[in-house]
């Protein structure tokens, strides 16, 4: 190993990025070479990082419902074009005992219900976690509430709740609908210095949104919480005039 080589410990700090495929070329090549040498410890660490990445991805991602046509296209792709049976299947089915058919259909239905229930449990878990994060801020001692938009005739309106230990919750209504490819981005505006990005969010069809930024916050040095409309998945610095400003 030369002086420029990464140590084992340094490589372990990079395995999640390696598994995500986002390492810069030099580091990526060095790790690839090392793994190619057959280091079992590091291969295990990369495998673990890959699974961790998938888990984090699952939890970070906002839940969304796919259109029904996605499944239909997929069925076509693997030859499930028709759900109907062939004549042979009908003949076989006719030969089956009624009780057997009943039992099979019943259990198949139970299986599908279990699938739906599991999906529902996951959605509920996620929703509960989001609600818990909001309540954490709202119920914490020392939380301050600041309303915005009351003096304006036009939308949006709402409140910002700020707690030095727990973070910020923004509750807004009457948000304008955004075109595809745009999002709302929340900013913490320090009394001095540049705005700090505080996460992106999208409004419901009714124009309401709840956005949480969990974690400690230096309220004393924060002058305001603002929201702008940004392209794509948000910007590192605001690119438009704020549509919400809640002065703290």
């Amino acid at each position: 190993m030369t002086d420029e080589d990464l140590t084992h410990e340094e490589m372990h700090d990079l395995y999640e990025l390696y598994a995500l495929g986002v390492l810069d070329q030099v580091e990526r090549d060095e790790i690839s070479r090392h793994l190619g040498s057959g280091c079992a410890v590091c291969l295990g660490a990369v495998r673990r990082a890959s699974m961790q990445n998938a888990g984090v991805l699952g939890i970070l991602t906002p839940d969304s419902t796919p259109p029904g046509r996605v499944e239909a296209r997929l069925r076509e792709g693997v030859g499930l074009r028709a759900r109907g049976w062939t004549w042979a299947a009908w003949a076989a089915a006719a030969a089956c005992l009624v009780a057997m058919t009943w039992a099979g259909l019943k259990s198949w239905r139970i299986s599908h219900e279990l699938d739906a229930t599991r999906q529902e449990v996951r959605r509920t878990d996620l929703e509960l976690a989001r609600v818990r994060a909001v309540l954490d801020v709202l119920n914490a001692p020392g939380t301050r509430a600041v309303s915005f938009g009351e003096e304006k005739q036009m939308p949006p309106r709402g409140s910002v709740f700020v707690n030095p230990q727990k973070g910020v919750v923004l509750i807004a209504s009457r948000l304008p609908q955004l075109s595809t490819g745009w999002c709302y981005e929340m900013w913490l505006i320090p009394k001095t210095g540049a705005p700090k990005p505080a996460g992106v969010f999208w409004a419901t069809e009714a124009g309401s949104a709840v956005h949480t930024l969990a974690g400690p916050l230096d309220v004393a040095s924060t002058g305001a919480v603002a929201v702008t409309v940004e392209p794509g998945n948000g910007s590192p610095a605001p690119t438009s005039k704020p549509i919400i400003v809640a002065s703290l």
Binding site: D13, G21, G55, L57, S64, M100, K106, I110
Partner: protein, 202 residues
């Protein structure tokens, strides 16, 4: 058919169906090219796959194509998945993210991951031993607790890596921050996630 025989048949059929809940059974059916298994795979992971891809590409039409591509890739490569070892979800999500990031990089004119590297990083063997229900139930809480320990700066960087596929140099350029600062924050964020998830994912 007597009542007891009917009950036995019903129990046997029900047990057979319920065994399919386990991904091992599902993998076996996928490996046998059973198209119905693909429908079950989609029922289990379609919504999450869609959500991940849509979050990355922010375009419904593109997301539909990429979901299709993801599941067909899984269908074509599932032979290499060890059905005795672990859940399919993490692998499916990784394939989905890679398809979406690949698309994003191509439209933004950024260098794509080489096909060789991609093949290796999302090879089914990399996901051997993924815990059953990793993306559901108690895991949701463990993962959420881990993510919530990140401070806002760390979270922004993690999202840039996961959802935009940016390297640390690209993050530094995008955020106009020194590369050293970005590296320190990314390392700290990943350590937090690793510590929180450590034993659970090990």
């Amino acid at each position: 058919m007597s009542g007891s025989l009917l009950v036995s048949v019903a129990v046997a059929v029900l047990s057979a169906v319920l065994r399919l809940r386990d991904d091992g059974e599902l993998v076996e059916r996928l490996q046998k090219r059973d198209p119905d298994a693909m429908a079950i795979l989609y029922e289990r992971y379609g919504r999450l796959t869609w959500s991940v891809i849509l979050r990355i590409v922010r375009n419904q039409a593109v997301a539909e194509d990429l979901v299709q591509e993801t599941f067909l890739r899984v269908w074509n490569r599932v032979a290499a998945f060890d059905r005795q070892k672990g859940a399919l979800g993490p692998w499916v999500l990784t394939v989905a993210r890679n398809r979406a990031i690949d698309y994003l990089r191509s439209v933004e004119g950024r260098a794509a991951e080489s096909a060789f590297d991609l093949e290796r990083l999302e090879h089914p063997s990399m996901f051997s031993g993924a815990p059953a229900g990793m993306l559901t139930g108690d895991w949701v809480k463990i993962l959420r607790d881990a993510v919530e320990r990140l401070d806002p700066n760390q979270r922004v960087l993690i999202e840039l890596a996961y959802y935009e596929g940016l390297s640390q140099s690209e993050m530094a350029e995008r955020l106009k921050q020194p590369l050293g600062t970005v590296k320190t924050r990314v390392r700290a964020a990943l350590r937090i996630l690793r510590q929180e998830l450590g034993e659970a994912v090990a």
